[in-house]
């Protein structure tokens, strides 16, 4: 996307809060928080590993920030980054056992580690609150000249812009990292880890850095969630929610950073569109997912290319569209390294 396109997209996001009903503003806030979660998750997948513990990392940040503000009396502005850093530190510790595994084993290992953490929130009522979690979590406040301390979580528009700013920072960080030498090395590890290791790439270090950074941003997303809702509990970070993250990333696509963002935005809109169906909603949601995976196995981000191919095919009645199993076009290959 061009710089002009990005500016236009940002302008749309800035205008949105003034165009939608108040309750839909909450949907947008949670959608933005989910964008942070999905983009950070995709960064981890660049190293070739799919984790089932990412949502729990979000929970670590949420619980950490909640406890730091409620029990230790820290300001939200200090507590949330500290909790994100703590989440990264925890991910570093988990990297030692987890990165002894690969593929399916890593998937299961990450699930087990995540459940161990999540169940400890359930089990230990002091300090985690047990199944009921922590309530009455303080909101972030900013000092204003005339108004004094203003609670920005009480004003959804203010919180929306605050979250949007964090989202922009997140995207810029991960975008720049992916296009750096570090990002290219992650791609190399993803596709040819043995070859990468044979030329001196320290795979463990690269994977660990990806896990730590992705987890820290997930923790930050958790802090944003907890301080807006005023409550956290173990149910918010269970496997069911993790599956949603996987769905966002897979349906959106993982080839570019736009994929998970598209996944979160489109599926949030779809979910809201199906709300009137109540208990039938999962059926339709599932059908949409199946159809997407069937027709767009590389995710919604590949839709423009597929549409072009279908259009050409329909116009010329020549050969059917290029299969997704074939070599991807140059635009879908790993991005070039920045100068």
């Amino acid at each position: 996307m061009t710089g002009g396109g990005l500016t236009a997209l940002l302008a749309v996001f800035c205008a949105l809060p003034f165009l939608v009903a108040l309750y839909r503003l909450d949907i947008l806030i949670f959608m933005l928080i989910n964008v942070i979660l999905a983009v950070s998750y995709r960064f981890l997948t660049l190293a070739g590993e799919f984790s089932l513990g990412h949502v729990v990392m979000m929970g670590v940040g949420a619980y950490g920030s909640a406890l730091a503000t409620k029990e230790a009396g820290l300001s939200v502005w200090l507590a949330a980054p500290l909790a994100a850093a703590f989440t990264g530190l925890l991910a570093l510790l988990l990297a030692f056992p987890l990165f002894r595994m690969k593929g399916f084993y890593f998937l299961i290992g990450s699930f087990a580690a995540g459940e161990a953490i999540r169940l400890s929130w359930n089990r230990f009522r002091d300090p985690f609150g047990g199944p009921g979690g922590i309530v009455f979590i303080p909101s972030p406040e900013i000092p204003l000249p005339v108004l004094g301390m203003v609670d920005i979580a009480a004003d959804p528009i203010a919180y929306y812009f605050f979250t949007l700013a964090i989202v922009v920072i997140t995207i810029v960080v991960f975008y720049r990292l992916e296009r750096s030498r570090f990002g290219l090395t992650l791609h190399a590890i993803h596709w040819q880890d043995v070859l990468a290791e044979s030329v001196g790439v320290h795979i463990w270090w690269y994977k660990t850095f990806a896990l730590v950074l992705a987890s820290a941003f997930a923790g930050l997303a958790g802090g944003l969630l907890g301080h807006y809702l005023g409550t956290v509990n173990p149910t918010q970070f269970n496997l069911h929610i993790m599956l949603f993250v996987l769905v966002w990333v897979i349906v959106g696509g993982t080839r570019t950073i736009a994929g998970p963002i598209i996944g979160v935005v489109v599926l949030t809109v779809v979910d809201q569109g199906l709300r009137s169906l109540d208990e039938w909603r999962p059926l339709f949601y599932g059908a949409i997912l199946i159809l997407t995976v069937m027709f767009l196995p590389h995710g919604l981000e590949s839709l423009p290319r597929r549409a072009r191919e279908w259009w050409e095919w329909a116009r010329h009645r020549r050969q059917p569209p290029v299969s997704d199993d074939e070599e991807p076009p140059e635009s879908d290959r790993p991005p070039p390294q920045d100068a």
């Binding site: 009903a21 108040l22 309750y23 909450d26 949907i27 949670f30 359930n122 009522r125 047990g130 199944p131 009921g132 979690g133 309530v135 009455f136 969630l225 809702l229 005023g230 409550t231 956290v232 509990n233 149910t235 918010q236 069911h240 929610i241 709300r275 009137s276 169906l277 109540d278 208990e279 039938w280 909603r281 999962p282 059926l283 339709f284 059908a287 199946i290 159809l291 069937m294 027709f295």
Partner: protein
Amino acid sequence: MGKKGLTRRQFTGTAAAAAGAVAASSFGAPYVAQGAEKVVKLGFLGPLTGEVAGWALPGRNACLIWADQVNAGGGIKIGDDNYMVEIVSYDNEYLADKSLIGAKKLVLEDDVKLVLMLGGTDAPAAVQFFTKQKMLSTTLLPSDLTPDTLYHLAPAEVHPLYNVTGVEWLAENRPELKTAAICAQDDELGWPSVATYLAAFEAAGIDVVYNKYFDIATTDFAPVVTAMLAENPDIVCLDTAYPDFVNLLCEQLFLQDYKGQIISCTLDFYGRIIEKTSTEFLEGLIFQFPDFDDPAMNEPHINFENPNEFFVNYNERFPDAWSAVTWEYPAIAEMWRLAAEKAGSVEPMAVFASLKEGGRGPHVFGDADWWGEELWGIDNALVGNWPVVQIQNGKATIVEYRNIIDWWNKHGELLKKHTAEQG
């Protein structure tokens, strides 16, 4: 794919047709009030999908039947006007964020006058919003109540306090029973319920010879039952176990040839348990949730319009789905109707004032007291009579209504002690 297989186009067509049919049947649901008549909307904010849906969806469906019954009877009479009732539901998936979105939608967009909730971990953010908006909301879990939840009521059940009535009845009617074994799942539903049963057994002079939690992920209940029966108890207490657990525990008790007394908080879908065991095995089991076709539901103190008809209608529309929570949501809606008619207004604060007037309210099992400050710091739980239900000839039968507050006044300290011990 070969020619005989399902092509992608065929699959798409079939899926779209199926989806369309389901959508049509869903959109064609009969509960939406029609025409230019005055309409009052009541919100239902609960998990209609997911693991906890069993505690909300039957209740939402029951509310639709209740609304149909009210509308068929001319609606709600407010002054000179008749209001038709419409139930607007929002599936919060038992998540706090979805709950907050749903709360704002129901209040700000749908203009509902009451929000019915299951309560629990999804509730705090939504209830804070309701309090700011001065919106009347209700829960089935009184543990949601705090001194800050000013307009959040627990008007149907006071779990697990009512369990004391079953133990008290048992002690009076079967004084030969002297020992009990308790098992419960290790979670927020199990802990307070165990404390309550321990207090009730102690008050009744019954020794608890076994009291252990089982893990929430347990699927094999043979060892749990074997360990309980090894203590040779006169009573086996299933605490407030989830419906599947009750089912499996009863099956194991049957298989291990237990012939003693069983007491449980719930006994959902007991017909299925009888199919797996026998009518004789379940005979005499005590629990707390009645069927609404029970003759005792027609007694004059009952605050529910046509309970027998409601039960028949529900079972016709949703066969084999009557459970502990089925009647609680419509019972709250019915209580709201009575209070709104008395207030001459459907506005939340007017109905709230009407409900709380004189410190008493129209609980489904008879007028009751607003109570709870000692436990939750606010008198927003409606507590009074509760039925003791017994299986007699394979059918749930109310054997007596007992007063919960009477028990509390005599033995409240015991409950406080055991609650503190259970953490």
